[in-house]
Amino acid sequence: MTHISQQNDTASYSSAFNAFLPDRVTEPQWLNSIRRDAFSLFQTEGFPSRNNEEWRFTPLNQVKETGYSRPEPVEHPSLEAIESLTGYSKTGPQLVFINGVYAPELSRNAIQTKGVQIGSISELLQSNDEILQPHLAQLASQTATPFVSLHNSFMEDGAAVILDANTQLSEPVTILYVTHSEQPIFMVPHTLVVAGRSSHASVVEVFASTMGANYFSIPVTEFAIGENSDIRHVRLNMEASNAAHISYTHAEIQRDAIFASHNVCLGGELTRNDFYAGLRGENIHCTLNGVYLGSGKQIIDNHTSIDHAMPHCESHELYKGILDGESQGVFNGKIFVRLDAQKTDAKQTSQVVLLSDLARVNSKPQLEIFADDVKCTHGATIGQISKEALFYLRSRGLSKTDAMAMLIQAFVADVIVRIPISELADDLNAMLPELLERK
């Protein structure tokens, strides 16, 4: 096992990297050089410091101080055990990864719609690496954080969804990244979605764990979204309560396309998600929504960045948080409107309900607007559950707990109903009271 020593944060990943490289001698040359470049960048940059404005509210002690190691092969849990982690009933293609490694016996990707490839990155690298080569590990690195570099250094598996022009998937593709380990391991699962012109699909990524260990998940999700396509994305963080999860999602979007991403954060001790959407053509509709539930000492930090580079695009962001205990939430929403991006219509809303006196939130819009004929609005509110509303429900016979759950469901309802997979939306809604009670 390649343990990472505790005293030194980036140098400690060097031994892991050096031990890992010989395993990769047979991989395509293009990927190997991306990997080497990524690691040298990571070594040069190191982890973000607390003085780095972008990471001010993201304490990285856990991540720096825990000796995370690369996962070793394990016996896989049963399909039932895995299905039960997520609650909602899924049909359609499903790719399962255990500790970041593809588990074919737990996956269902036999449906072969013509012009659609759904499979593991590890298999595609062997059989057909040309279809990955234009994009894999190259989109997110344009706007990289050190964690994207770290991810790309160790990336070897994950899910690929490749849609040819004019293809459609009638059922959502579910990608389950399941951690099954008692050891503190780190994983770098990668999702790549390439959507050809006028294609349509929904992709759900679920991050969950069979145990309560401290582990470190560093996922990167890349979208290359072609002209006039319609791509829906849900990422559901149900990580173990001791885990750290630092993710990066990057979308490159071409003209007339629709991209809607829904970010649901429930688990993890530390969660940091970065979303970047580059709007590269006219008439793009981009939605980045989120809902997060924090309790205990959880930290849930969401950074979004929407880059309006071309005219006549719309972007919508609606983030809602519920924070209990001593949990902390962060919402940082950047919107760039470049000189050429006239007639941009950008709307950003962040709303938080604090359930305890010790819960905290930092909500920060950052608008940088260089075009002069645009409509950009942003609003942030922080509130409590209304005492009057709570009393009204109780006066009709609902217990305090049920009344609270109903009001919280109501608060997040407008984010949940927009989740394009109705079974998932219904299940999330039904799960909420239980999730809140468990917290």
Partner: protein, 257 residues
């Protein structure tokens, strides 16, 4: 045993005493009206009965079917059969009316040891009540009280009452500001509820609603006390002559307040 017994009730908001010794007994089958000028403490009394925690009871007691009402949480009171139609019902954005009411009905049924209503039974019950109250079914799809006119909110209170089927209903100015159709709906709703094993307390400024539901006893509140009780003719007299004569009598000590 009386259904409701209020003895020497004193209550304050912050440091201000508002109820200054209320005595009131309501028996099964009775309809009581409580009238009185603005600010005399009618809603305060109703809110104390429903368990709103803005108020501190400093003296006195309230028994509901022999039990200490003040010792019960708002939901326990509701489950025991107390229903309050609020003067100013709260808006609940995002909460669907049907979903809310079904949860409430089942919480109350559970307490009574009755079977839970499934979606079908519940819809049947709800449709029947809507029909009686002449309320359109679109109400079911709406968020509780959100964007409702004043009259719609009051009708929704009566609709909830009809579904929840309480043994003691307190209506705080449910008739104020209603158009004639809404008043008829409210009037029918209340009349339907009148029965030998229920009691109704109607807080009102006007005679109109009392034409639908004739009160057995009419009380008048002034400055935190009930200063006079009488039969239905007292309400008519107040409607016609106002309160000045009664205030005069109270001031000159003709009434023991």
């Amino acid at each position: 045993m009386s259904m409701l017994e209020i003895k020497n009730l004193h209550a304050r908001v912050e440091s201000k005493e508002i109820l200054k010794g209320i005595n009131l007994t309501v028996n099964k089958g009775e309809v009581h009206a409580i009238m009185g000028l603005n600010g005399s403490g009618k809603s305060t009394l109703a809110n104390v009965l429903s368990g709103k925690d803005d108020y501190t009871v400093t003296e006195g007691e309230i028994l509901f079917e022999g039990n200490d009402l003040l010792d019960m949480d708002p939901e326990e009171r509701a489950r025991a059969g107390v229903f309050m139609a609020f003067q100013y019902p709260v808006e609940l954005p995002g909460v669907n009316n049907t979903y809310f009411l079904k949860a409430a009905a089942n919480a109350i049924r559970k307490e009574r040891g009755e079977e839970q209503l499934d979606a079908m039974d519940f819809m049947k019950l709800v449709r029947e009540k809507l029909k009686v109250l002449e309320i359109g079914e679109d109400l079911l799809k709406r968020e509780v009280n959100v964007g409702f006119s004043g009259g719609e909110k009051k009708r929704n209170e009566i609709f909830q009452m009809a579904v929840l089927n309480p043994s003691l209903a307190i209506l705080d100015e449910t008739d104020s500001g209603l158009d004639i159709d809404a008043l008829r709906a409210v009037g029918h709703g209340v009349t339907k509820l009148r029965s030998a094993d229920r009691a109704i307390v109607v807080i009102t400024h006007y005679q109109r609603l009392l034409n639908y539901i004739e009160p057995d006893i009419v009380h008048v509140m002034m400055d935190g006390k009930i200063v006079r009780s009488g039969d239905k003719s007292l309400a008519l007299q107040l409607e016609n002559e106002g309160y000045a004569w009664l205030e005069e009598e109270v001031r000159s000590g003709l009434v023991t307040a």
